[in-house]
Subunit: 191 residues, 2 copies
DNA sequence: TGTCTCATGTAAGGGGTTACATGATTCC
DNA sequence: GGAATCATGTAACCCCTTACATGAGACA
């Protein structure tokens, strides 16, 4: 999976400029690239060189001229082939889990603060993913099947964060029960 | 979060060699680095230069000599400080979702195959995370509180994959219902 | 004979990131 | 006056990855 595939997909919805593509990538959660100029414009030049997209320059008064990119038949073919491939495995990077791994070096209050902090963060992510699902990403589904798929993608984000929220709340609850009921069992407690 | 923090944490459990650290990182799910030589040995040199770890060379007959690294008080302080920091936001990279985003270019059979493929992949991840939780990572918890935290970390992985499995099964089920009941509503179907 | 484990290190390259550069218009 | 939008592109850098290099013993 490279940003080139993402760009081909975006352009398959409608022709647009690198600037438009950049914004879509930046606002998307499933496209994990930053959407910086270097990447997007370089990728477009590459795709153009491979004949997967064509570009048409449109001059504008009092605004910089734009290059409008369109996918070619060849580009659609590459997109179709990539889409059907065995998916690359997901990479779930949760730095918080690594902090939690060594969190026994913290005292009770610090640990509670860390957990509460993460819960709050996840709440925000959950709210944002709901909001993004409501707003959409500026692309229009081309069929009812595509509309269904895109709704499912939004639901994936929401349910992922909801699951994480349930988990962190469980951790907090069980920890408070441990602190209350089983204090005598804990060996390294200072308080 | 850098690999240096992960290494400080690992060494806080017990002194060991770069080679040992490498294996722990490679087998860990929450440490997302590949654990290649370049990274680990370079990080150890850096940590040593900063006085966060010290090393002792042990010569062995008929085996290469090893450098056994130990965290210093200063290193533990840095670990404690980092652990209590505001967690960096999670990065969830699911290439499959990007394939699904453009999957309307596929026909019905191809889409079903893609979904089934992902379900299978997630099943394997779920089984592996359960197995890893059972086996442990070779580090011994230093307190019952740490033991609890590590169990929760394992549960996080399991519940994440379980949630993903439930989701992909829901997608498949709803899609088959759409195909069966609402076929007339779909505009781009070839069959 | 070939491959694996132990054990440390280096080299080369790819991909991603931020920041710079231009330049007119619009909005506060 | 300063910042944001539109629009394209470049430069420098950092992190991470694979692959190479050494070299002895164990195992099939």
């Amino acid at each position: 999976m490279t940003i080139n595939h993402a760009i081909l997909g975006i352009l398959s919805c409608r022709p647009m400029t690198g600037y438009d593509i950049k914004k879509i990538i930046q606002e998307s959660d499933i496209m994990h690239w930053s959407g910086n100029n270097n990447q997007v414009y370089k990728a477009l030049i590459e795709l153009h060189g491979e004949g997967l997209v064509i570009s048409e320059v449109r001059y504008q008064e009092s605004l910089p001229s734009k290059k409008i990119y369109t996918v070619t038949e060849e580009g659609l073919k590459v997109l179709r082939e990539w889409t059907a491939l065995e998916p690359e495995p997901a990479e779930l990077r949760k730095p918080f889990l690594l902090q939690l791994k060594w969190a026994d070096v913290l005292d009770g209050a610090q640990l509670q603060a860390l957990l509460a902090n993460y819960e709050n963060q996840i709440r925000i992510c959950l709210a944002m993913s709901r909001e993004k699902a409501r707003r959409g990403d500026g692309l229009k589904p081309r069929s009812s099947r595509e509309s269904f798929l895109w709704k499912m993608i939004d639901k994936n984000a929401v349910s992922t964060y909801q699951n994480e929220l349930d988990w962190i709340q469980g951790v907090q609850k069980q920890l408070s029960e441990l602190d209350a009921g089983g204090a005598d069992k804990l060996e390294l407690q200072d308080s």
